[in-house]
Symmetry: C2
Subunit: 459 residues, 2 copies
């Protein structure tokens, strides 16, 4: 074949748009396989209903590690292993208890300790409440108005942001740094409105920081359900002398041994180029972590299973990594990147699913403009699957530490409208998962991994 003919054939194969007709067929096979013979739903059923919530350092987290390794072992991959990582161990202890007291009349409030919070006094703490909406307001109130009180952060998520993660990002400082800021002014405790767009009864936990505060200066922090945040705020408008009581029993233990779970298909052509697909295996303790992030784990396992079963022989080495300890430490993600660096493994692409198991809408790419343009050339391939969102943005927390000068990071972007109904609550459970939506996410991830494997990440 002469050179012009070769180039022409190539252009025809590529359809002038960065992919070939056979890619269409591959995607069709991937989606068909997932929707008719997928394993992700069955896997998630087990992980959620037989194991359940799996906070780092807990027995359940270790059961999840064992189970996930066993499942990946059964797929006939080239290699499956556990990557040791030390993780923090924080436990909630006995269920929290809280009430608001107005003129001697008490009303029980739905709260939960924030992850990493210290306990209250064993008898609980009771004090006046001061409501604020941000740290500026807190600063303006100053020590005079805050000392000896409980600070109540009550800035709601913005309902008119279409991407609910944006609304979350605009609010989460209250949870993450609320105690740290409030203690500066002598507050004795912190209550934070749950990061939730609905008004309901479920407090949302989540990680918080004391930074390097000495133990003595650490004050307890809890989340309150949005319904009770509204109630508390109304009561404060009527009577500033409202008293709030809460008791929580959390405790930090020494770090414990845990693991990332990794499965690998060796690349046939460029075995030293690594593609990672992942989610995090740990979850909060209140629900069973189906959306956050059991979904991402089973979808990542499904990507390997699909590639294996579709007879696709990847050119590059593909790994599914189930990271440990995303929620309260990011130790798994950090460790994975450290080891990859030590071993000089050339990671070219990492895709994370950690935004829930809802209908996939597309991807956000943390990449060069040049790669992004290349990815946009694949967009048309996804149209039949209603995948339309190709934007630059955040990749994912666990894969973040892999960032270097050439890796492309990407995040699966599912529909986000319902996510914060469940996030970090007792109702993040398997019944909130729709099988088809979960499967479509897995197929969408597998399709992108296939394309990156086929065409690489260089423009």
């Amino acid at each position: 074949m002469n050179r012009i003919k070769l180039v022409f054939t190539f252009l025809v194969l590529m359809g002038f748009s960065g992919f070939s007709q056979s890619d269409e067929e591959v995607l069709k096979t991937i989606y068909h396989q997932t929707l008719t013979n997928g394993k992700s739903y069955e896997w998630l059923d087990y992980l959620s209903n037989r194991i359940g919530g799996r906070l780092s350092g807990s027995l359940n987290a270790e059961r999840a590690v064992e189970w996930a390794k066993g499942q990946m072992d059964s797929l006939g991959l080239d290699r499956v292993w556990l990557q040791p990582v030390m993780v923090p161990k924080w436990v909630r202890g006995a269920k929290e208890y809280a009430y608001v007291e107005v003129d001697g009349e008490t009303t029980v409030m739905d709260i939960c300790a924030l992850g990493g919070s210290v306990a209250t006094d064993p008898l609980g703490i009771k004090a006046q409440v001061v409501e604020v909406h941000d740290f500026e307001e807190l600063e303006k109130l100053g020590k005079n108005n805050v000392e000896g009180k409980i600070v109540f952060y009550n800035r709601p998520m913005e309902a008119d942001l279409i991407n609910t993660f944006e609304a979350y990002g605009n609010c989460v400082d209250q949870r993450y740094k609320g105690a740290l800021e409030a203690q500066k002014y002598g507050a004795i405790g912190v209550i934070v409105r749950s990061m939730n767009l609905r008004i309901d009864d479920y407090p949302h936990t989540g990680t918080m920081t004391y930074d390097n505060l000495p133990a003595n200066n650490r004050i307890p922090a809890a989340a309150i359900s949005t319904r009770h945040a509204e109630l508390l705020s109304s009561l404060l408008k009527l009577d500033k002398k409202v008293q709030f009581y809460f008791r929580q029993n959390c405790k930090v233990f020494a770090d414990v041994q845990s693991y990332n779970v990794i499965g690998e298909i060796k690349g046939s052509q460029f075995p030293n180029e690594y593609i990672v697909v992942g989610g995090h295996l740990d979850s909060w303790d209140l629900g069973d972590g189906s959306h956050d992030d059991g979904a991402g784990c089973v979808q990542s396992m499904e990507v390997l299973r699909l590639l294996k079963n579709s007879g696709i022989k990847p050119k590059r080495t593909i790994r599914a990594v189930l990271f440990m300890n995303e929620e309260n430490g990011l130790r798994g993600g950090t460790k994975y990147a450290e080891v990859a660096k030590e071993k000089e493994e050339n990671h070219i692409f990492a895709l994370e699913s950690d935004s829930g198991g809802f209908t996939p809408r597309g991807f956000s790419f943390q990449s060069s403009d040049a790669f992004f343009k290349k990815a946009q050339g694949w967009e048309a391939l996804f149209k039949p699957y209603l995948i339309h969102y190709f934007e630059k943005g955040h990749g994912g927390a666990d894969i973040g530490p892999l960032k270097n000068d050439h890796i492309v990071l990407a995040g699966l972007v599912p529909d986000s409208q319902r996510y914060f109904d469940y996030h970090h609550t007792a109702i993040d459970t398997f019944d909130a998962i729709n099988k088809r939506e979960l499967e479509l996410g897995a197929a969408t991830m597998a399709s992108l991994v296939y394309l990156v494997d086929t065409y690489g990440v260089t423009p």
Copy 2:
């Protein structure tokens, strides 16, 4: 201003793409209003939880009519009225009962009568079962194998179709014409696998036809839950002598008086050009009809409220029409079109929401290529709201009778993955509705109505 300048200004205003910058602002206002101060969720709560299922001809349907009129009255529209229409009245009667019997051992089965079916004998009917997957298979079996038996249609929805309505369309002949076909071969009853992509315990009702069959030839038809369809099929594989018993108590009464509920904002410039936005107020009787189609009704009412409250003065006359009797007769849609024709009302556009209250993805347009091209010029305006699906396709059942040589029909296209989990079942209830998703649908409809009002439907 000279002519060139005028054209230039016009082009700038239009952004060279069929809309102006101020349109962006209007859409922003519409979405903001809906997500922060919308009424659709509160309305649907009332319609679903205080009124409930509202099958045509029932007391609840009349309560829904009264309530909807009252709500529209309160919006300060130019006109609100009831449009009389006679509707069929079919009632389910006492709850259905069914079991399968194998060697004298019985297992209770989840069934429900199909809408329009006749009752069984008051003592029920019991017979051998013959399983088929389509009418061809039935024909091949012929009278010899079918006479005196119960025909069990068990062709599942295709899981690998991304648009679940397509899978529904490929299956629903079993439900709609199953009894009509089976009686030709002497069957004494029909059991139809529910139109459901999940395996669960809820039978899905829905309309069926006997065409012009004499009363004596009409055989009873019921839907069976997908779980029990699978079980029945397994039993039949083991033992063809399986007996199936069912009893249902449905009854048809004489037609009764009912109404379409209509609200109108008079056009300021072209009052004789009509734009309709609508859903159907009747529902099946098993659940409360939140998705099918309470959602479409409250979204349509919300469109008028939003236009009114955003200070938009429509050029054309905009109507919200809550159609009666979509489910088992389409009398409301037919009547509305008849009256529009009689009065020579020039309807230019009708938009229906009858595919559930899930996250809106876009629209399907039943229109000329020329209008479709015009609509595509608006697509970019919707991108910030993640509305991406602009395709030619079906408008909607209720607005179908309005079809003429120039009207544009359109359907709101929500995410379809979960719809058939709920459709026509006892679990189509308010708790399956997400407030934001419902509201996004209303805002998306209002935005399109605004654009059609502003730019018309001529290319």
